[in-house]
């Protein structure tokens, strides 16, 4: 190349660079409108996470009502119909309002930073996907104040209880689910387009951090599962209002078909809420074990295998609806097969810790708690997967204990771990480690007091979704409720720790918050910039920041 052309190029680049400097490097818009109009992935990530957190508190408040009513036998506080509204909305709000948006928020913050992209692929749609949520959430909650009350048919809204026998507000519930689904699908489209198209030119798919991988696979699950949910509620809508009988046996429909459709969405949904958690834990453990992630490629394949299997096991939620024996056996075999790739992941995490140099800062504490407690939930899941044994577990508190171990000490704990891990990078400030450790132990003890006795309740014969119970269940219910109140209180402390960190936290100084953390997100210095990666990171940087390859001799 001749000198003149190089000079010219340099000059063009300088002008371009300068232009784009003006264009992108102004900070956020002042005022509240910033949050309404923003297309910045970090702003939108923040919005998602705060929305999820407020929904978590609302859904948690509903859980407190449930636990308070179940504190002792008898109907003390609420009517059975209202109790059913609480269990229903607790489930819906936690699944669609708290866990899913929290993961989308983390994806928004982290994916562009982890793949060296400037922003999400479709920033305007990103804004839209978020702003649908508050409206959908408000609509869902507003049903509580309508005549006849809110949805009272469980978060699984089985027909015909949710169609012919449901309160009038159910149409609002249907519309809210449509909106939530729309938001999720748009979010998933954005994640897929970002990961496939916006990666730094030098980053191959197998260079991507595991969090990005798990989210890519999750996004495909969303694309395949959410439209099925939309289909199910659309059929409900026409059954309720336009005289169809998709699920009405007296009109030639089939109520069991509703369950098939629902769980064809519902089971992948379970993995939508746990795969990103696997990703988070796979980022945190190597950092605090000071050792590369064990078995990166087997982790990727295991995640993909879990995702594929998740579409062919939905029948294990329906062992008792009267399936032919061949169906039950097939679903049993397919279900227990999932424990193989899931086991691979757990073994990989344990081996990552093996012969590491472990330290237990708060994110690591939550990640280790995740691995242990999620494994307990997974093992009770294996028990539930054995079809004949499921006869005694199905729709009892054993199931309640199982899915709370998976979703609370699994999904939720991973989100808390992620927030403690990345918050110092997001805001450039460190949280109060001492308080955070106290909070961890408080939460971890109370959550086990809350959910572990529920295994016993289920085996002793207590059905789920009942507002009052026989006296032999009294002791464990009271213990569980006490654990529940303590766990509920822990979130006040969590709120304080987070707000305190953002407002008064000690600034992170001299590099990254965790000296052993690897990943492109840590290359921006002490704090995430409003705009990152004007120039995509080089191959050398990508390799040096990989948390899953060996760095022997590079220190």
């Amino acid at each position: 190349m001749s000198t003149t052309t190089t000079d010219l190029q340099d000059e063009i680049e300088k002008i371009d660079g300068h232009d784009s400097h003006d264009d992108h490097h102004h900070g956020p818009e002042p005022g509240l409108l910033r949050w309404v109009k923003t297309t910045n992935h970090k702003d939108i990530g923040t919005l998602y996470i705060w929305f999820a957190f407020s929904m978590l508190l609302i859904g948690g408040a509903f859980a407190m009502v449930i636990r308070a009513e179940l504190f002792q036998p008898g109907l003390q506080l609420v009517e059975p119909q209202f109790f059913n509204q609480m269990t229903t909305l607790h489930g819906l709000i936690m699944v669609f309002g708290a866990i899913m948006p929290a993961f989308v928020g983390l994806a928004n913050w982290q994916i562009p930073l982890m793949i060296g992209a400037k922003d999400m692929a479709l920033p305007r749609m990103n804004n839209w996907s978020f702003w649908i949520l508050p409206f959908a959430g408000t609509m869902l909650l507003s049903t509580l104040f309508m005549q006849g009350g809110g949805p009272a048919f469980g978060w699984t809204f089985y027909a015909p209880l949710s169609t012919t026998f449901a309160p009038e507000s159910t149409d609002f519930f249907i519309f809210a689910v449509h909106m939530l689904g729309f938001s999720s699908i748009m979010g998933a489209i954005n994640v897929i387009a970002t990961i496939l198209n916006m990666r730094a030119p030098d980053m191959k798919l197998m260079d991507m951090p595991l969090f990005v991988w798990t989210w890519l696979i999750t996004a495909f699950l969303l694309i395949a599962a959410m439209p099925v949910l939309a289909g199910a509620v659309t059929m409900m809508l026409t059954d309720r209002n336009f005289g169809t009988s998709f699920f009405d046996a007296s009109g030639g429909g089939d109520p069991v078909m509703f369950q098939h459709i629902f769980w064809f969405f519902g089971h992948p949904e379970v993995y939508i809420m746990i795969l990103p958690a696997f990703g988070i834990v796979s980022q945190i453990i190597p950092t605090f074990a000071r050792k590369p992630l064990f078995g990166y490629s087997s982790m990727v394949y295991a995640t993909a295998a879990i995702a594929l299997l998740s579409f062919v096991v939905w029948g294990h939620h329906m062992f008792l609806v009267g399936m032919p024996i061949a169906g039950q056996l097939y679903f049993m075999y397919a279900t227990i097969l999932i424990s193989v790739p899931t086991g691979v992941k757990v073994f990989n995490w344990v081996t990552t810790m093996w012969r590491g140099s472990l330290s237990f800062e708060t994110p690591m504490l939550w990640a280790v708690a995740f691995v242990i407690l999620f494994t307990i939930g997974g093992l009770s899941g294996l028990m539930l997967g054995i079809a004949p044994a499921d006869i005694q577990y199905h729709d009892t508190y054993f199931v309640v204990a199982h899915f709370h171990y998976v979703l609370v000490t699994g999904a939720l704990f991973s989100i808390i771990a992620a927030v403690f891990y990345w918050l110092p990078m997001w805001c450039g400030r460190m949280y109060n480690e001492k308080l955070a450790v106290i909070h961890f132990w408080w939460a971890i003890i109370s959550v086990n007091v809350l959910f572990f006795p529920q295994h016993f309740l289920g085996l002793a014969g207590m059905p789920r979704r009942i507002p009052d119970y026989s006296l032999q269940f009294a002791d464990f219910n009271m213990i569980s409720s006490i654990g529940g109140f303590a766990f509920g209180l822990s979130f006040i402390m969590l709120t304080y720790i987070i707000v305190d960190c953002i407002r008064n936290g000690k600034p992170v100084e001299g590099g990254r918050a965790w000296e052993t953390a690897r990943g492109l997100e840590w290359t921006q210095g002490e704090k995430a910039q409003y705009h990152s990666f004007d120039t995509p990171p080089s191959r050398a940087t990508i390799l040096a920041e990989s948390s899953h390859i060996s760095h022997e001799g590079q220190h």
Binding site: E13, A121, M226
Partner: protein, 49 residues
């Protein structure tokens, strides 16, 4: 689409972004059609049964 790493690296920041965005829009379109397909299929299968 289909550009080599060297080609991508030689692009300016703007060109790269433009190139990436073009691909992203195509991906988004394909995925959106996929989602719509799943939705239609759900209703279709049920109305058949």
């Amino acid at each position: 689409m289909g550009k080599s790493v060297e080609e991508l690296q030689s692009m300016t920041e703007e060109e790269l972004l433009k190139h990436q965005r073009k691909g992203a829009r195509l991906t988004a379109l394909i995925v959106a059609i996929l989602a719509l397909g799943v939705f239609s299929l759900t209703l279709y299968m049920k109305s058949k049964s």
